[in-house]
Symmetry: C2
Subunit: 574 residues, 2 copies
């Protein structure tokens, strides 16, 4: 096979797959999730060649969840699937990343451009000669679609897709035909990294918004800061920290914002979620005459069923695409630049500061005599168990609401999927999060709180944790089924029951040596107290699997409330 004219004109020809994976490495990614398939096999040979680790998940949905968890902890993640069967299996995971603003690069190995052109009746097609139908679906949950069909355009397409993924913090879809994998593109480009800088705001417009913000801020009598999901996802957590540092204003988080603020800080006021909040928190936020709301994502479950009692007249919204001051919108003026200037220009002497009540882990308050572990007692207790720097993953179900009552130590990363809420996600996400921690060279503990129902959907991803020897502690809430659903509808319904598994025996079946896994069945408060005080348990080496018994009709306060509102909303007839 001779070198074609196009390749001869390249200063440093490199294969497409090498170009792509080198770019991915340059973004900081060290592990790639996914599964092989005959349309991606040759590409996979380039993964180790480019300094990347192949994770090899157990199925594609798990892999997508894992890439999502990886991205939440390392900044960005990647997954490779095969055409049709693989990518569609991953689709729900990618959709979740899209909904929750998580940058995941989805590479799909697909049939050769020649097979596509000839409309061949290949396996993994629908049999209608349409090779773009899955990409069209993928496009619905991606901010860029790159079909790598023409060698001359590929390097540009890749760079553009990766930049979009990062800057807009959402998934992109890259379709890599088998015959393009080893085509040559310009390797010289790799000497310069992709520009990941967010576009700057127009100076004059930005200054205008900053002036308006400062005007209200200086005039406010009880201003507070409220930090939500998109502050984390669009990477302004550090800016927010500086804002609070400088202004010393009380700062609150939403459920999806948990982890964005140092909860041991004296300025931290608690979790605000409308009537799902602790009373003192609700009072404080709702009596504020100016809420600086950063990265809000006011979905039903994040607001305890749209139960905010704050007024837009008292709110300034900072977003990744625009800002809104009361009802004035400023499209294209993004939060990072505005917040930076607010920090610079705020006159702290003009600020009214009204402190918030201190946030405690109310373990004692929720203690009662029974041996049973109650949701009310458990979650504050978790706050005392957690350590600085932990990665805490929670699943849709009682844990996602319970964690509102857990005060985090400094530097805890909160990982939840409150908005998209796909159960089973957390098991994959935990694998990805723990792997990210490892790839970043830290020895962080990754701790998962997952319901028995959710765990069943994706249980086999524990195998991947074992394979990569990740440090993961799993608390499986054993309450015989779908408690969250019971509170929405069908408390005793059969469809909310699940099969009884021997959960703690699963890791060994899935490949763990007895030495690699520690397993615990915990039925009482005392047993739990004892476990949480064990030195070895707190060191959290390898895989620790805790089956935690709770009552099936017990749920965190905020969940009961939200479920009720949800049920009412579903049933509403006009």
């Amino acid at each position: 096979m001779g070198t074609d004219i196009r390749t001869q004109s390249l200063a440093k020809p490199v294969p497409v797959a090498e170009y792509l994976f080198t770019r991915i490495h340059q973004l900081g990614i060290r592990s790639i999730h996914g599964l092989p398939g005959d349309f991606n096999l040759v590409a996979l040979d380039y993964v180790p060649k480019c300094g990347l680790k192949w994770v090899g998940s157990v199925n594609e949905l798990n892999a997508a969840y894992a890439a999502d968890g990886y991205a939440r902890c390392l900044g960005i993640g990647a997954i490779i699937t095969t055409f049709g069967v693989g990518e569609l299996s991953a689709l729900n995971g990618i959709a979740g990343a899209h909904a929750e603003h998580v940058p995941v690069i989805h590479i799909v190995g697909c049939p050769s451009t020649i097979s596509q052109r000839n409309g061949m009746l290949l396996h993994h097609t629908l049999g209608n000669g349409d090779f773009n139908v899955f990409a069209t679906m993928g496009a619905q949950v991606s901010v860029d679609v790159a079909r790598l069909n023409k060698p001359g355009e590929i390097a540009n397409q890749i760079d553009h897709a990766l930049r979009e993924c990062w800057v807009r913090s959402r998934p992109v879809y890259i379709m890599l035909p088998t015959d393009m994998v080893e085509k040559k593109v310009e390797g010289k480009r790799l000497e310069e990294y992709i520009d990941l800088e967010e576009p700057k705001n127009d100076e004059e417009r930005e200054d205008y918004v900053v002036d308006v913000v400062l005007k209200y801020l200086h005039a406010a009598k009880k201003p507070v800061v409220l930090v939500d999901a998109c502050a984390i996802r669009h990477r302004v957590v550090e800016v927010v920290r500086q804002l609070v540092q400088k202004t010393k204003l009380p700062v609150f988080v939403t459920p999806m914002g948990k982890g964005a603020v140092d909860e041991s800080s004296e300025y931290y006021g608690g979790v605000y979620a409308g009537s799902g909040s602790q009373e003192s928190v609700a009072d404080r936020v709702e009596s504020s005459d100016l809420v600086l709301s950063v990265g809000a994502l006011k979905s039903d479950f994040n607001t305890a069923g749209f139960s905010y009692r704050t007024s837009q007249l008292n709110t300034i919204d900072f977003h990744s695409t625009h800002c809104t001051v009361r009802y004035s919108e400023y499209p294209g003026v993004t939060m990072r630049g505005v917040l930076r200037k607010v920090i610079e220009r705020v006159d702290v002497k003009k600020l009214a500061r009204v402190e918030s009540p201190a946030v405690k882990n109310e373990v004692a308050e929720n203690f009662e005599d029974s041996k049973t572990i109650t949701q009310a007692w458990f979650w504050p207790r978790v706050g005392e168990y957690l350590q600085e720097g932990d990665i805490v993953v929670t699943e849709t179900g009682t844990s996602n609401f319970g964690i509102w009552e857990t005060k985090f130590p400094s530097g805890v990363t909160g990982v939840t999927q409150v908005f998209w809420g796909s159960i089973g996600w957390s098991v994959g996400a935990t694998q990805g999060a723990a792997l990210a921690a490892k790839d970043l060279g830290t020895t962080k503990r990754t701790i998962l709180f997952v319901g028995d129902g959710s765990f069943q959907l994706t249980c086999q991803e524990v195998s991947t944790m074992i394979k990569h020897k990740l440090n993961v502690t799993i608390f499986l809430i054993y309450n015989e089924g779908f408690t969250i659903e019971r509170f929405i509808h069908g408390m005793k319904a059969e469809y909310n029951d699940i099969e009884k598994w021997k959960y703690t025996e699963l890791p060994e079946v899935l490949g763990a040596s007895p030495k690699q896994v520690k397993k615990f069945i915990i039925k009482t408060k005392d047993e739990l107290e004892k476990l949480l005080k064990e030195k070895a348990f707190n060191e959290a080496k390898g895989l620790q699997f805790v089956e935690l018994w709770m009552d099936k009709e017990d749920a965190p306060r905020a969940l009961k409330l939200t479920a009720e509102i949800s049920a009412r909303n579903n049933a509403r007839l006009e």
Copy 2:
């Protein structure tokens, strides 16, 4: 809440959910697959009320696979999921049913029409106020989409969707908002069943095609019948049987047609898949001067990499939407009517009948001295183990190709997904198939052959088999990874390896009592011989789990060949 005017005008008002599930019951379905979610909970209350069993799978992809397997055995299947997260998880399974012409009714419980109209920021949305985005994806793999938004139209929409599903033998998508579940529709309609009759061919056109067919058939010197996937899926198996009965022509099946023809019949000639066939079979089919090809689906894996050496000049194609005689197409003239008339009008005295060599299970021929179970020896041996009426499920991987070498007894149902080829499918499909057998009141054995790699993707569906006490025998081919992929690319590549699980211990972890499951680890031919002769094993009560050791670089003949062609096709540069 008063009765509105519309409801007052109904002769027999019934809630939408009751109408829907009654219709589904009338189609013969007795079990509904799926998972609960807050947007479908109220609808689920109607499942038992309408005489249906709620299956409750472990995740939505598994549920979709199971509904597919159920439909392949009972004629039609149904699955209920919840908006976004649930339906997208199922999408790959539905796509497979679409590709392979399997009628699956997909019902998606979604937010109320009011929430939709108000564009509420609900969980399980993408956050863009678009409530149709998932339906748009679903539409790509469905032959009808019914959005049940207006009570006055719902009964019609349901009847139309169910008819389309059946007649076109492909999935339909039904979107059921929470506020429509209990709206009233006309229950009187339920007294008459939905018309499921296929549209009749235009008489004159049909007669014309029949004449042409007979002309060629009477003139042919070595005519044969070749039966493929769509003969099964579009329900002409009985018609084909009559055709062979009357004409006594040699009849062959493709890999996807396996099970369509009584393989113990004297007219049965074997599996034809181009150069993937046994030599005698290839010779016989390819030397034929007239192939009556029924329901062909000539995909790469079904034809051993497009390796047919038959000519369209010697072929008559019978399809569910048209017929093709040599190069003459007859759109709208469908196979059932044409075949029936051919049977009626064929003059058997004018038929040339050349017999085919007899088909045997060549167990002895493939025996060699080593203790190792080889693929070559195993698959013919399976033919001796199988019994009349068995349901045999095979998975993409060595089993899908190995089964070509297995001669079925009479009345065996073959269940494979050769075209779509999504691994993991078979575990769900087996659950559905075994449940269908039970719902039909039979005591059939359901026997699965699945690779270790594929099994891992969907292993937890074994839990559902246990829950419903299904009779399933699983042969898990333990060959340490993705052997089929090794033959395509990367024989020693790490990405083709998998974690070592203790497979046989899984059922008990997933809820089986020790009495409910029998487990076997079989490493040699002798051990297998012994097992296959055990009376209790052959009776196949409950769950039997056989871990079967084979060499990781061993593959059936046809697979090696197809893999080579596939790899070449992937790499082809022009």
